[in-house]
């Protein structure tokens, strides 16, 4: 069953078609300035996975404070004050707000599932969940994701970040061929 995102439009204050996206090179320049601003003001690049790590650590600490504090993965997020009042979680909170406001103003707010034309809604959601698990484990192993490693690391010529980015695209193109029915 094809799930078209277009017929699941949210009621929008001004009824008009979605605005076109920015030119990708201009958007990239703007993203580069945001990244540069992070380095200039706060001395840090961007990140995203860290917010999920902090959230997971916080939930684990609510379930069992002792076992969370004893876990080397969670403990890093629990040993300096409230885990969610930290750099990356607040950054990601801002990303959620900025992304939402921008999508709303551009007429791109849509409630629905995105996938290729030939994939059922259930299959797509199962694949989204599986993909989330893999992306998280990969980002934990690599000490960062597309934001923290690829973008922020490559900008400072971090050797490991460039290895990460090469691996992401190599694996991405291979897996995209195997999973072409999901998207094409």
């Amino acid at each position: 069953m094809a799930t078209s995102i277009a017929d699941r439009r949210v009621v929008h204050p001004v009824e008009r078609p979605a605005q076109p996206y920015w030119n990708p090179y201009l958007a990239g320049f703007a993203l580069g300035l945001v990244l540069l601003g992070g380095y200039l003001l706060l001395g840090r690049g961007l990140g995203a996975t860290g917010a999920f790590s902090a959230l997971a650590a916080w939930v684990a600490s609510l379930v069992s404070p002792e076992s969370a504090a004893a876990n080397p993965v969670h403990a890093r997020y629990l040993d300096h004050g409230p885990p969610l009042l930290d750099y990356v979680p607040i950054l990601v909170l801002g990303t959620l707000i900025g992304g939402g406001v921008s999508a709303w103003l551009a007429g791109r707010m849509r409630l629905g599932v995105e996938s290729g034309p030939g994939v059922s809604r259930g299959a797509r959601l199962a694949l989204a969940f599986a993909g989330g698990i893999l992306a998280a484990i990969g980002a934990k192993i690599a000490l960062g994701c597309t934001s923290g490693q690829a973008l922020s690391g490559a900008a400072v010529l971090n050797a490991g970040s460039l290895v990460f980015m090469g691996a992401v695209f190599a694996s991405g193109y291979l897996v995209a061929f195997l999973f072409r029915k999901e998207w094409l």
């Binding site: 999920f52 990303t95 992304g99 990969g138 900008a155 460039l162 992401v168 897996v175």
Partner: protein
């Protein structure tokens, strides 16, 4: 002297407010680039829309050139910049796993946040998958985490590794971006027929 946070003692509230503003800008730019859409993001792997590489590559070169310029005139102290530690094995293996998750899931963690905000149900499910993946990693792979951290080296950059000054690398990346822009234009025309009809 920059970064600001190293030369001025910022109150926690001020630091987090600046962070929040930066995050809003990050979200707006990602959304305007089209990265709140799983279809647009994964299109890069089928060649008919190379926006992901165009945006990322341009952003990297912009920030890289800006940092190099400001460092060379002495405005920013690069010693105060946080650089993720390097463990080649971890970053190679992690990248391979992450790439699979990106294609299968349709998002990466940052773009999933934008897509969640734009109402995409699959992005919310992807985000739940991230939390599940982290829980799995914490439960079963904490030994891996300890090995990775124990064998990670700080501040391994191309200039420190090769002795070739940062300015040459910036020039190389600008050249590579121009080359890639030309190649991606060709790829998009060659693979245009793959674009699904929605």
């Amino acid at each position: 002297m920059l970064p600001l946070a190293s030369s001025v003692e910022l109150a926690t509230g001020t630091f987090l407010l600046l962070t929040l503003v930066g995050g809003v800008a990050f979200g707006v730019v990602l959304e305007r680039a089209g990265f709140g859409s799983g279809c647009k993001l994964t299109a890069v792997f089928y060649g008919y829309d190379m926006s992901v590489v165009k945006v990322m590559f341009t952003a990297i070169v912009t920030a890289m050139a800006g940092l190099w310029l400001l460092a060379s005139i002495g405005v920013i102290d690069m010693q105060e910049i946080y650089i993720v530690p390097t463990n080649y094995t971890a970053q190679l293996v992690g990248g391979l796993v992450f790439g699979a998750g990106f294609v299968i899931g349709g998002y990466c963690p940052g773009t999933a946040v934008v897509a969640c905000a734009a109402g995409r149900t699959d992005a919310w499910v992807f985000a739940l998958g991230i939390l599940a993946g982290i829980a799995f990693y914490a439960w079963f792979m904490s030994g891996v985490e300890q090995w990775i951290r124990a064998n990670a080296i700080d501040d391994v950059t191309l200039p420190s590794l090769t002795g070739i000054a940062a300015g040459w690398w910036v020039a190389l990346f600008v050249f590579l971006l121009a080359l890639a822009a030309w190649g991606m234009g060709i790829a998009e025309r060659a693979f245009a027929r793959l674009k699904p009809v929605r």
